[in-house]
Amino acid sequence: MEIVHVYSKLRSEFGRQCLFSDRPAELLLDLPPDPSLTLSFIQKSPRDQAVQACWETSEHQVNTERFETTSCGINHMEGGWPKDINPAEMEQTIRVRKKVEKDESFINSVLQLGSVMEHCIRQNNAVDIYQECFEDEEVVEEIQEPPSAKTVNIFRDPNEIKRTVTSLSWQPDGGRKLAVAYSCLEFQKSSKDISLDSYIWDIENPNRPEMMLKPTSPLVCLDYNPKDSHTLVGGSYNGQIAFWDTRKGNQPVEFSSLEHSHRDPVYKIIWLQSKTGTDAFSASTDGQVLWWDVRKLAEPTECLVLDPSREGNLDQALGATSLEFEPTMPTKFMVGTEQGLVISCNRKAKTPAEKIVCTYDSHHGPIYALQRNPFFPKNFLTVGDWTARIWSEDIKESSIMCTKYQMSYLTDACWSPVRPSVFFTVKMDGVLDVWDILFKQSDPTLSLKVCDNSLYSLSVQDNGRLVACGSQLGEATLLEICSGLSNLQKNEKSLLAAMFERESKREKILEARQREVRLKERSRSEQSREEEAGREEGEEDPKQLIARAESDFYSLVEAEVKRREKKDEEKDICEEKDVKDEEQRGTSE
């Protein structure tokens, strides 16, 4: 229904300004309700209507602020005496005590408490309620859980420019601290801003290093003295050796003079076992192995040039990249070189020429790690290029065991100090491999990706459970290995001894065979040389040979042709004979 309101306006007033004025409301239309319309509607009852009646709630999260606690001891003084009593005075305290004792409640409570207490004491005496049951039951044998390792802590280089972790050394006697050497090994990449410091970290506190060591040039390798856990010796990038005492501060106590040190970075330094406990020796790529007495670092005590031709010629010397020393065999040591040779040396030899006992040609690249098995000193592990090899001292030709070629370069390795068949390797793709040769020889038992950049160094703590590995960007990661890989298994030693023996025997046999074959060949080649000398006159000229071959061929062909002709003739004769027979038969019939 349309509600219309009409108003009129003169044409001449169009376009004039509108003048508004107020006026009261006017009723335009009044529509009363029409009951007849209700018939067109249907009433709907009951109706469904959802109603919600509950109190309003809201969710709220609160994070409390980090609460810092420090533990400290409190000195306890006697307190609780009533104000007028001076606790120092014996008389007063005795008086107070006597007064309390006379008190009724005191007596009652003591009696009551006494009975309760007696009950418990009697309980204690009757049965030891805290006794360890099932103590004798054997610890459940290794549940076959898969080997695992978890990261405990990561120690990051606090400086802006990250340097590579080149060496790690655990503190001896318990190993709560880890000494980490940082340096930049890439040729000429280190800028002026790079910090020279190396740090000692406490394994519980990854936020800040416990102590800083400030050498004059970045440290490439570091070693704690196994006899004295406060002293360390380190080899630096410029070839100097420095000696620290952590009790005396972070400057080196002494360092070697530039003239008598190495000319190249010192790649490995190890403490020696000696009566004074102050000897160490170091190796560097300049081809020298130097012995030092840390009380007098101005000059090395001894020097050995790694010349395989045993002439002591520095020009021919091979650069050394790793050293090996086992305290149980103090006169022998081994050096791994840049060229892939392992040189075994005897310290006690009289002449320098005799110092080098033998060499093992092992890898195609520099040997980054070299270590004897702590349980079987005759066998040692070397790592270089893309494989890790295990050698036996007696067999010089080749390794007794070798891993397959890995996907990336291996940079460091070490044996586990508790399990003779377990060793760890780190690779350039940031993977730490744990190998258990009694379990599987072809693959690592456990392979963990520790970080995205390459891992450069590795060190196992003396208890065999904690492993620290250092990466290119200055991160030292501390991992804990599962108990399956760090507890000595039954018969492990004997099984491993058998394995090593077996492999060495195999190599010996192979070697013997090779020698035999070589001998035979040699003898055969000698023989054949004699024969050749005799045969030369009877040898025909090639031209004559060709002529002979031709004539043979032609004679054969002619013989064949003649044979065929004969056959044809015979056939013709036979046919004629047949025809003749038929004719004869024909005529006879």
């Binding site: 306890h76 307190g79 005496w81 006379k102 003591v110 009696l111 006494g114 309760v116 004491i121």
Partner: protein
């Protein structure tokens, strides 16, 4: 008075008992069989422990109360029987 003595002596006579201390609700040792310094130390420290334990039990359930406490250590065991005004410590 005599009963108190008797009770305490009986407890002391039990096997394995090293010492007894009776302390009041403020931590002052009333009676003790140990030397003074140890007594004072034990009374003070254990008083705090008992207060804390009691408040813990009460917080969890107001109707509950602490009746007995045993603190077992490597070397010995400290048994504490608390009461309204006093507590008895046996080592």
């Amino acid at each position: 008075m005599a009963e108190v003595e008797e009770t305490l002596k009986r407890i002391q006579g039990q096997k394995g008992v090293q010492g007894i201390i009776v302390a009041n609700s403020e931590g002052i040792p009333i009676k003790s069989t140990l030397d003074n310094s140890s007594t004072v130390q034990y009374a003070g420290l254990i008083h705090q422990l008992v207060m804390k334990a009691r408040s813990t039990i009460r917080d969890i359930d107001p109707q509950n109360d602490l009746t007995f406490m045993r603190v077992r250590s490597k070397k010995n065991e400290i048994m504490i029987a608390p009461d309204k005004d006093f507590f008895l410590i046996v080592i």
